[in-house]
Symmetry: C2
Subunit: 136 residues, 2 copies
DNA sequence: TTACGATATTAGAATGATTATAATTCTAAT
DNA sequence: ATTAGAATTATAATCATTCTAATATCGTAA
């Protein structure tokens, strides 16, 4: 079943303005966990030039409504992820790529008195491409 | 077996200046994953007043030498952890406490072509104290 | 002890991501 | 068309971190 972005936003209680739809679409289709500036630059390139502030406002709104998540790799800029379902992230320390990794969600075993809302699992190391190059 | 901080730093190739020893001791004994400013404020209070820059330089050195790790909860300031061995972190979204959680290190199964150097596991939710208060 | 070179520390300026502010524009309902 | 509320915007402000260049400290050799 295909849902368009307008309906998706509405279902999350978000007024689907054209900027919001464009920002969501970019987040949903890009593979590389864009930063605010990536989003801003992309929409500028497309000719929809507007303000960085709108990008900040919008991603904050999406986060609050649970539509996207932040990617907690240790970088100074925030990165975002609209991919559904739990997955880990792998950051290559050499080329900087940030990849989604299918993994089951780790559970907080032995601590029934904690209520977990969010789980973040990040691996850091060397990706296959960089390992291969290093072998030369 | 007890090792003093001076020897520990030396063993990691770090010249154990008095500032470095004090910063390490504070990191190692504090339970709350201090920020740079926490460290700075603590040493000011103790009467060892010096520069924030030294704290930044020192934690960066400790990180490089593998003596401490960053805590990747989503906050604007960096937090540090000198506790040995892998453990997860739990951040309470209500009171802000950041707690160590004993857990086994998640493995990157099914991806033998990746080389993992570091693993970070963070849970976010409500801690027992806040859940109890909420029940009232 | 004194001088020297290397390293560590420091204050303050610069940077850069994010947030706040306040004005303008858009939208939908009357 | 008017109006109210929300969304967008440019700009300024904030604040953690990094950079820079000057000073202090330490160990060692003369």
């Amino acid at each position: 079943m295909i849902r368009n972005t307008v309906d998706l936003l509405k279902d999350h209680g978000i007024n689907p303005s054209s900027q919001r739809v464009r920002i969501y679409d970019y987040l949903a289709t890009s593979e590389d966990h864009p930063t605010v500036d990536d989003i801003y630059a992309h929409l500028q390139r497309e000719g929809h030039l507007f303000s960085r502030a709108t990008v900040y406002n919008t991603v904050k709104l999406f986060l609050k409504k649970g539509l996207i998540r932040t990617v907690r790799v240790e970088e100074k800029e925030m990165r975002f992820d609209a991919a559904p379902g739990f997955h880990a992230h792998f950051k290559c320390g050499n080329c900087g790529a940030i990849l989604d990794i299918e993994t089951e969600r780790p559970r907080l075993k032995g601590h029934p008195d904690y209520e977990v809302h969010e789980t973040s699992l990040v691996f850091e190391g060397l990706c296959p491409d960089c390992l291969e190059k290093e072998a030369d």
